[in-house]
Point group: C2
């Protein structure tokens, strides 16, 4: 690839539409596909080309990026009868930037490589804001030379870009990321409710502890939103549960008991059962409010 590769982009959701937009703006020829057509029209207005489906997207591309909800979506789009593999020339690179199960990522990579395609799993962290500002953290698995070839694409989308190792290891890193993120979110909820009900101002507590060993991204970023009564996403609680379920299932595959992550998954399960899955992942505090029969006080 001496000139710019022709790109395909499948999955123009909350994050995908921003990512595809950055690639168009960077000068790539981008063919897009999405199940609901509104997002396609948006991207076409920015200069992208519309395809009828994944197969046609692949037929017009050297590199196809997928940004889809879950493992079955990616398996269908990659390997289905109207999928990427059905439309691809040999040597096409499929970069899956969705968050899916590591064993599924490995299955898809194996099937594509057997058919002469290349594959990278490259899930991201940073949410819709990271997608919008092109500041995503990208964790990749696959061959080093394929990763190197795709670096200009990654650099158009993100800031911290790391190849972990072979196929699936990007998804494993993303799973590890979500183990820690969920732990921080639940701990934040528990400590805010504990502080308030025990008689200490949660705002003062956060201020005191965020300078020490409790410091974390969640403690730096989420309390101001919660104290303002803002539980809108951000990163949806339903997606956090999806990721936790991936982890719990993969943990079984790889023989790794995860006692605390399992409890955190069940707390998100409770949040979704309460009909609150469209809120931010920090809204997990709502489950703890229910359990403690109290509401976090709002305001200054």
């Amino acid at each position: 690839m001496t000139s710019l590769p022709r790109l395909g982009f499948i999955g123009l959701g909350l994050m995908g539409r921003h990512m595809a937009g950055h690639l168009v703006q960077a000068g790539y020829t981008v063919t897009v596909h999405n199940r609901s057509r509104g997002a396609v029209a948006e991207l076409v207005a920015q200069g992208a080309h519309a395809a009828a489906g994944p197969k046609e997207t692949a037929a017009n591309s050297d590199v196809v990026i997928t940004m889809l909800p879950d493992s079955p979506d990616v398996e269908a789009v990659a390997l289905g009868s109207n999928g990427i593999l059905a439309g691809a020339r040999r040597g096409l690179i499929h970069i899956d930037m969705s968050t899916i199960a590591p064993p599924a990522a490995r299955r898809i990579a194996a099937a594509e490589e057997q058919a002469g395609l290349e594959n990278l799993d490259a899930p991201v962290s940073g949410g819709d804001i990271g997608a919008k500002n092109a500041t995503l953290t990208i964790m990749a698995g696959g061959k080093q030379d394929v990763f190197d070839q795709c670096m200009p694409i990654f650099e158009t989308l993100g800031k911290k870009i790391t190849r972990i190792g072979d196929h699936g290891t990007g998804q494993i890193a993303k799973a590890c990321n979500q183990i820690m993120v969920a732990a921080q979110m639940v701990a934040l909820g528990e400590l805010l409710i504990f502080a308030q009900k025990a008689g200490a101002d949660p705002r003062r507590v956060v201020e005191a502890i965020q300078a020490g060993a409790a410091q974390c991204w969640t403690l730096d970023n989420k309390p101001p939103r919660l104290f303002a009564g803002n539980r809108s996403p951000g990163f949806k609680a339903s997606m956090q549960l999806k990721d936790l379920n991936i982890i719990i299932n993969s943990a079984k595959t790889y023989g790794v008991p995860l006692p605390t992550t399992a409890v955190n998954a069940q707390l998100y399960n409770a949040l979704i059962a309460a009909g609150l899955g469209d809120l931010d992942n920090s809204a997990i505090i709502g489950v703890l409010e229910e359990l403690a029969h109290v509401q976090l006080e709002i305001g200054d």
Copy 2:
């Protein structure tokens, strides 16, 4: 207090001995007491005076600091027949910098105030290194004017000093700190073992995720030690469990169910049951190694 107040310091353990040393070096007259006498001799060599017990320490002091293992120790030293209250003049300030149960802190403060003494609860975060380098995070509860009066003492010992609110709120903040610290420690153990057993290099995973939403003090500081095979404290796992037990008991007092902290407490319980309580709190990964029948790989 226009001249420097005369200080008492009771509890010359891993942290207390450094803290008392800083106060001596800052020019305070410091009377010390400790059950085991070796540490007393050390401080006397630095210029402190030795007392026979808490009562005699209080009799020679305007401000008495306690730095003791747990609630019953502080209650005995403060309110016992040979305690601070028994030896104190009216107006003496007792600063308890131990980590104890918030309800116990409130009981002690009430008893001392009724006898004409002043009280602050002012637990710390930062471990023996923070004590040694005078960089402790200090979370205080009690009257504003008493806190203000003691600020020069706190500034000799720590960096980030916050008054949360009334009596007990320093201990509540410390409990909140430990909810988050334990969550990070357990999540770190789970994700490192998950990464390794799923086939991704835990070092690369840590490098990738510490730039994003998973970022935290624990992820910044503990992996290099674990990868080097170093599980020595730092902050002892047995003390982490002590603090978690304080939280679980207080959570019952204040009516705050803490499902994930409860699991984390049981994992530390398992670590202590395995005879590993003298290791660092990051050694909780050992329990997860047991569960997954694997050991974290050491070396570069």
